[in-house]
Subunit: 133 residues, 4 copies
């Protein structure tokens, strides 16, 4: 069972001259799914950062494997399937479907960035796990 599902609208303008979704949009929707999840659980990224004294839950890595092209004009169900926690990063696993069609699978690896001596550095993710996990 998914942890969270975000309904995404796939529009004409999201597609390229080949008639299929311009792939960076899938990453945009993956990020939007993460932020919708934060709003659902903790009132959003800004509030979470204030609570944690952090600058942002930024990206270290992002990957998507594209299985089938999404169809324009239909909702895409972008789901968080699992979150894996390690020392200074956590990995959010995603899967998106249109009905029975699996469109993509992938993940974001994120860190909790805090300012330290004027630079951004990845901090311990344990406090985030307590809140979100």
């Amino acid at each position: 069972m998914s942890i969270f599902v975000n309904q995404v609208q796939v529009s004409f303008g999201d597609c390229d001259p080949a008639g299929i979704v311009f792939y960076p949009n899938y990453f945009r929707w993956m990020d939007a799914t993460f932020h919708a999840f934060l709003h659902d659980r903790v009132g959003g990224h800004a509030k979470l950062c204030r609570d944690l004294g952090a600058r942002g839950l930024g990206l270290m890595e992002a990957k998507l494997s594209f299985r089938l092209p999404a169809t324009e004009g239909r909702a895409l169900e972008f789901a968080i399937e699992a979150i894996e926690w390690s020392g200074r990063s956590f990995t959010v696993n995603y899967r998106a479907v249109q009905g029975a069609r699996v469109i993509l699978e992938g993940y974001e690896r994120r860190g909790v960035f805090v300012e330290k001596d004027g630079r951004l550095a990845a901090g311990d993710v344990a406090p985030v796990q307590e809140i979100l996990g």
Copy 2:
């Protein structure tokens, strides 16, 4: 009363370093609202173009007046308020709100582009008006 309302998700990544929506996104959502309207009424842009023998319902002009900044993490209700038909173009009037807050007002002027002697030209909009009006 609005002709059509499209629920738009406003996400963290749609905002700029000033913390407000990066304004080209409003135009993206205006276009998405038009295409959602086409899906609702006639099965989408591709089907409408096949029915009309046209290449696209392309843009001649687009304008937005920004009243108040939209808040991230909340739906934006992007509505079509009226469509005005003239000879070779039609104007779609929009208004977007978040609850009682009017976020923007504006319009798209669109033509029906057909290929003629290897070039795109704006054709008569009467057949579109019959279908959509």
Copy 3:
């Protein structure tokens, strides 16, 4: 003569299924042209805001008239043609060409937004005119 010209790369992914530029991208490039201009003249938006004690040079209105479709794979020359100053807003006029082809004309009306009693309000543009005009 143009005040400033920004070379924009028009790529495959900027185009829609009709094979022409997805129009919100033109607004993205208009904004990028304004910010490139700020970098060229005053070291960027962030520096200008610090100098002015402002939150941002935000949008009140944006309009584009599309003359001819831009061709993918060729540079688009996005130019600032004139800036008109009034009390609490200024209007930046743009024109974009590919060679001899005029692709679009339009404008942004911007204000200087300052925080006042916890709200954003448009301030006097005279200090901006002194710097940019």
Copy 4:
């Protein structure tokens, strides 16, 4: 030595409320770099598809590892470092820098999609390798 380098403009509007580049834009620039490469070598994606009888050089997988945040207002040098060819896909390796700062590394795995019995399927990449390799 890089196979190809694409100069990318990083603008204010490409950044998010945390003040750093909204990461899907890096994927947009990766794709734009691939298409700029195609224009440089073979006259663009459309021409290559006509030559190959293909529908598109579509994505199977895309991954980026983010090393350091890119600075707004400075060019990003997005480079193709290597292309690896296998049976029905090829992997394009990228690296992007701002001066001495490595911003990211990653890859796109692409296929040559051809229509076969009304469906898109990945064809042999050998003809693409002959042209691009």
